[in-house]
Subunit: 260 residues, 2 copies
Amino acid sequence: MLFVIKVGGNVIDNPVLLQSFLQDLTAIQGPKILIHGGGKIATRIGDQLGIESKYVDGRRITDAATIDVVTMVYGGLVNKQLVAKLQALGCNAIGMTGADANVIPAVKRPVKQIDYGFVGDIDPARLQVGPLKAMLDAGLTPVFAPLTHDGQGQMLNTNADTIASSLAIALSAHYKVRLIYCFEKKGVLRDAQDDDSVINLIDRTVYAQLMEQKALSDGILPKLDNAFAAIESGVKEVLIGHAADVRSNTTATVAGTLIR
Amino acid sequence: MLFVIKVGGNVIDNPVLLQSFLQDLTAIQGPKILIHGGGKIATRIGDQLGIESKYVDGRRITDAATIDVVTMVYGGLVNKQLVAKLQALGCNAIGMTGADANVIPAVKRPVKQIDYGFVGDIDPARLQVGPLKAMLDAGLTPVFAPLTHDGQGQMLNTNADTIASSLAIALSAHYKVRLIYCFEKKGVLRDAQDDDSVINLIDRTVYAQLMEQKALSDGILPKLDNAFAAIESGVKEVLIGHAADVRSNTTATVAGTLIR
């Protein structure tokens, strides 16, 4: 089983939670890939550099100055600090973006109602998984920053959830893949106010019911859509859970929400 | 023949020269590794972030704020932009630091007269070349930022010339290596004022004569010391020349200075 694990900015921003998470990640046996979000540091550094962060519908607009900031902060500072910390724990990490070894070619998002700027859209069928497979076979743990490129020399900002599902899909031709989304809750909650109301299993039928009941928070919907898309494209299982539960979420006895 | 090619900040800072250099690099047949310096952009971004650059004897003092800046600028912005540009030209580049796959373990430089801060010293014998060899065999071109790590979670700023010679030495167990330093002159000059006074061959005897004549500028001495150390440790040839001559400097008819 290959574990493709996405960890969000809330963990990156919390040194204690992050260190514990990286220890758990190191303890997971077998092949694994980490995809990390950015955290608030890109916004902070952008502010210090006088670059205004712009969002539309909760999505960052990536202008020319912003793609440089996220390239250096996500692809440099955050990614290399994660790699160095994992190496210190004995996990043989290797930092990656989608540009490296051309693993994730992307296209700049077409301008429709909104011009997202330098944001990359991915077609999982175009991923080049050969180099990743070689790394995994050699015992390396690829660690991806949320960046791709357009094949014409331009780096592109790309949603980490989407990178994770795309990698999981592309690698499912070679491995049984469990795709794990770590976020700030224990799993998908039946009651957003009750952290212990984890829904342990969601399939298409349950999903339709939950949608009808409007029981799901807006934040979780793209994750579930990504999850079902991944499963329909060959990923064996998707898990949504807390970063602190990542080890149990790689076993048969999961703490989070299993999606099939 | 494996070409280990170091390119300095003056090329990184010049878009026209850089693009031409990357085209030439792409055209070089066979396995190759690029090591890049930082350029002035780290200083510029550090200034914008209110971090003062400190130098002693021409060497940057790397305090805690500065190692974060160089990690993001060299390891993120500069490195990934180079990778994206090379990918656009058809060169299958993969960005690296010494932390990635633990290729270059280093130690924080011991404090003597000067505390250099988070600067890494390398022992070529400790390099882990297995992952690099696998990349080269797979047709990838590793592109190194001038960064290493201490194995305890800390990134370290490391001289790009030293990274290049250390990689060349370590890989000379597996390849015939030509180590090429690209800089702003055509080669080692007999007369610093005359760009056409390239010394085409320097061996130990010639070096001793040049030293006695005090014919060499201060800037070139560390490069020559690194070159001879590399040759004594197994590197077949070292070349010092202009970035614009990199293609001819990978052939038998070199434009720069050959060191044996």
